[in-house]
């Protein structure tokens, strides 16, 4: 053993402050958005990464649990309200957005978060998305896009790539997958950001901005299903080709956003944001004002 200099050593090297790091997590407030019961998603599920980032974003926004409502549909992601501390509404398959709209219209003071999977949001519930966007209801909709139906054990979803073999497409999925980003931009969501489950640190500020946005904010997040998808979105493959939205990107420029969305690289961050579009509540207020003033 060659010797090295014997500098005075203050701290142990093996246990590098694990205890204080745990305390830091507790102090951060991240745990305040968790239920007591453990999530029942499969161990290794990407949803944990999303959930972790979401907690960080809610912490950053300082949103009180009591003022927060999470609405979901059916599917693995639909379980989220059960693992969350706050008000949740676990609705029926594909119909989360209408319920969320009802909540938000009735109680504008609440923060309403909608979560759901790709099947729920783009398949059975796909018809609701454009209309929720059109009304610009002030809710944040996070789409957990894992490209598969996990809860029913691995059938094709609207974002399953063409050619992928699934339980319902044993010879390969014949359909072109939907791209929720292009879709959202095409529907002209007033806010659209993207991300993936592998980097909670990058995802959290994106969620925070979505929550801050006035109007319908749509955030499709790519996430792996470790149980029923071994080929498309795996933890390793999910990371491929991502880079941050370029610093010079103008998020108010829809064409630029669409160009990014159609680029073969994938960008995480805010692609499009139209902060001043009137929300449904704004429009209602307008209507109310017109009605009050009998203006035409």
């Amino acid at each position: 053993m060659s010797s090295r200099s014997r500098e005075p050593q203050d701290a142990p090297l093996l246990n590098r402050g694990v205890a204080s790091r745990l305390d830091r997590v507790v102090d951060s407030g991240l745990l305040d958005y968790r239920s007591e019961a453990l999530p029942t998603w499969c161990p290794g599920c990407g949803y944990y990464g999303i959930t972790h980032a979401l907690a960080a974003a809610l912490t950053e926004r300082g949103i009180e649990n009591r003022n927060l409502v999470v609405v979901s549909g059916i599917g693995c992601a639909g379980r989220y309200p059960f693992f969350f501390k706050g008000y949740g509404f676990h609705g029926v398959h594909g119909r989360a957005l209408p319920i969320a709209g009802g909540v938000k219209i009735a109680r504008p003071d609440l923060t309403v978060l909608v979560v759901g999977g790709d099947g729920d949001g783009l398949g059975i519930g796909g018809g609701h998305l454009p209309h929720a966007i059109r009304r610009n209801i002030d809710v944040t909709y996070i789409l957990f896009d894992n490209g598969i139906y996990g809860l029913t054990k691995g059938q094709s979803s609207p974002t399953t790539p063409q050619g992928q073999r699934t339980g319902t497409h044993p010879y390969g999925n014949p359909d072109t997958p939907l791209d929720p980003v292009v879709l959202g931009l095409g529907y002209r969501a007033s806010f659209l950001a993207t991300g993936y489950a592998g980097e909670p640190d990058e995802l959290a500020p994106i969620f925070a901005r979505a929550l801050a946005h006035r109007g319908f904010s749509f955030v499709p997040v790519v996430t792996p299903c470790v149980t029923f998808d071994a080929v498309n979105i795996t933890w390793d493959r999910m990371r491929e080709g991502w880079q941050p939205v370029p610093a010079d990107h103008d998020p108010t420029d829809l064409t630029a956003a669409l160009n990014l969305a159609l680029d073969e690289n994938r960008y995480y961050g805010v692609l499009y944001c139209e902060p001043d579009r009137p929300t449904f509540a704004d429009a209602e207020a307008d209507t109310a004002a017109r009605a009050a003033g009998n203006a035409p």
């Binding site: 010797s3 014997r6 093996l14 997590v25 968790r34 239920s35």
Partner: protein, 595 residues
């Protein structure tokens, strides 16, 4: 580690420092205690996972050298070690099976190496100091070896005509062939250590003379004086002291034993005497012990083999008297009950009144322990030497080590402690500490251990058939693990010198590692109470999601299977190689560092 480049690319925080580091922090040293229990249990702190890994990579030379770095007698200790390491081995935890055959693997390397001599060891330049050592037993040899490495000139004064001390004169050859001793002593004398035989200190030369001649003198004269049974009748013909009995046999004598031999005592010597008596033709041999078998310090294998050879063990007996006229006719015994624990941590045994009876015997061997020779009479010194526990004495330059200092102990304890004494002597002579224990922390890769290796059964030591054993004292009973046995046994080691860690900052709490973990060593942690020493035992676990501050690996339970590292989706699990090693601190490099 293999994952590092990609992990860095993705920005995931890794808990592994890419750079190697060393630590002397007490908390890091303490980590070894709960995490590499075998190494900590070894009095010489032999790097056991290190050499077993070398074994399993079929690099027996490396394995042997790692062994030699801590204990200079791997061939000897690979046979007759008392194996405190195996008692501590994690593989022997109740839910994990049986300990790794650490000792047997040591022998595999010692017997199977290709090197004839160890390659050049690190040595300090000649210091000009001269050290005299009294006795060429394990402690004397260990002292001599260390002091030679420190650059001192060493001369050993040995009263017998051959080196080894108790190894040669106490332990029977059927357990330890003499050629093994000769070879390993040869590596020490090759460093320039001189041994003068046939010199009895106190008679042929006094300690005062030696202190004149040398800058320091170490007394490692061992425990050559047998405790004697303090009961009537020990002067009858047919009564032997166990140590004398063994020394006679080991110097070529064949003491006569009768048909019924009774051995009194329960240590290795008692068992050696009993088994030797069988080889000398005794028909009925029994060992009378004060307590019960469970409390004996000898290994289970020793007990089983003695019984297989026909030795009977009689428990809970106190000897009261050796009966007979001129010759021994029997031993009068009383039955004991177990009492409390004495100040040395041993169970008391209390004779039961009215339980006396006599066991017929024509030979009685009393092997109840040894003590240092009352020697040093005739030391020629003005003051009576008084030794402290650390080996120093009231007389400048006079030291002691080994059994002479501590009382009868095991070979590995002697070696381990003698090395420490040698370091202290060197510090005194050179004026500074030139050898220390450090923890080295290195980046590591996952091992390629397979999970099914955890279920390999402990490999049994091939033994000579009973019929061939009793043919003679020289026939070695244990044959050594063969190739496949050695390979299988080496695979069993968990390699506890690996440390798997989760970087909380990179964790998404997905619990995949917990799900896949074969032992409940990963869990949801609420907090870690600092406590004393390493964090190990003070993790506060939780089952609540809203209380889970982090997912933590309890290294003191981890069996190093590596499954968590391979499964972690955010690659926030890393592995480091943590070794407790000793290093010499040389002047040159210190000078370099100062620049």
């Amino acid at each position: 580690m293999s994952d590092q480049s990609t992990a860095e690319g993705s920005g995931a925080g890794l808990c592994c420092d890419p750079e190697p580091a060393v630590s002397t922090h007490p908390q890091d040293i303490d980590y070894i205690r709960s995490n590499i229990p075998c190494q900590w249990a070894c009095p010489a702190h032999t790097n056991i996972p290190g050499y077993i890994l070398a074994n399993s990579r079929d690099d027996l030379d490396a394995s042997w050298l790692i062994n030699r770095a801590s204990n200079l007698l791997p061939g000897v200790l690979g046979r007759i070690c008392s194996r405190p390491c195996e008692e501590a081995c994690r593989h022997g935890d109740p839910d994990l099976g049986t300990p790794v055959g650490i000792c047997h693997l040591k022998r595999v390397a010692a017997d199977g190496r290709s090197l004839d001599v160890p390659p050049g060891e690190f040595r300090f330049p000649d210091s000009g100091f001269e050290v005299g050592i009294v006795g060429a037993g394990p402690a004397g040899l260990a002292c001599a070896h260390s002091l030679a490495l420190f650059g001192h000139r060493v001369k050993i004064y040995e009263m017998e005509s051959a080196p080894g001390g108790m190894l040669r004169f106490g332990i029977p050859a059927f357990r330890l062939p003499r050629s093994v001793i000769d070879e390993e002593v040869g590596f020490i004398t090759a460093l320039g250590v001189e041994i003068e035989y046939g010199v009895r200190v106190g008679a042929d030369v006094t300690l005062a003379d030696l202190l004149e001649r040398h800058d320091a003198v170490v007394v490692t004269a061992g425990c050559y004086s047998a405790y004697e049974l303090d009961i009537p009748g020990t002067d009858r013909e047919g009564v032997h002291s166990g140590l004398d009995f063994m020394v006679r046999i080991n110097t070529g004598d064949r003491p006569a034993v009768g048909r019924r031999t009774v051995v009194i005592g329960g240590g290795f010597t008692a068992f050696d005497c009993a088994r030797s008596a069988l080889r000398l033709g005794a028909e009925e041999v029994s060992i009378c012990i004060l307590g019960v078998e469970e409390l004996l310090s000898v290994t289970d294998e020793e007990i089983i083999e003695a019984k297989r050879e026909g030795v009977a063990i009689r428990s809970l007996l106190t000897s009261l008297e050796i009966t007979g006229s001129d010759r021994v006719e029997g031993v009068r015994l009383a039955r004991n009950r177990l009492g409390g624990v004495d100040e040395r941590g041993r169970r008391r045994t209390i004779p039961i009144e009215g339980s006396e009876f006599t066991l017929t015997a024509d030979t009685v061997i009393a092997a109840i322990g040894q003590k240092p020779e009352p020697a040093l009479a005739g030391s020629g010194l003005a003051d009576e030497p008084v030794f402290a526990a650390d080996g120093s004495s009231n007389i400048e330059g006079l030291w002691a080590a080994g059994d002479f200092l501590s009382g009868s102990s095991t070979v590995i304890e002697s070696v381990g402690r003698a090395k420490a004494v040698a370091t202290r002597i060197d510090t005194r002579l050179s004026g500074r500490t030139r050898r220390e224990e450090i923890v080295t922390i290195d980046p590591a890769t996952d091992t390629d251990r397979r999970r099914d290796w955890d279920f390999i059964d402990r490999q049994e030591m091939p033994l000579l058939p009973l019929t061939e054993r009793l043919a003679g004292q020289e026939v070695e009973v244990e044959q050594g693990l063969d190739g496949s046995g050695a390979e299988a046994e080496a695979r069993r080691c968990y390699l506890c010198n690996l440390k798997y860690e989760i970087d909380i900052d990179g964790c998404i709490y997905c619990r995949w590692c917990i799900d896949q973990c074969p032992r409940e060593c990963i869990g949801l942690a609420r907090t870690i109470e600092p406590g004393e020493g390493y964090l190990g035992e003070t993790i506060e676990w939780t089952e609540h999601w809203d209380k889970t501050a982090g997912i933590v690996i309890d290294s003191s339970r981890c069996i190093r299977c590596g499954i968590c590292l391979r499964i972690c989706p955010t690659r926030c699990i890393g592995v480091r190689l943590v070794n407790l090693v000793e290093r010499f601190i040389s002047d040159d490099e210190e000078a370099d560092d100062d620049r």
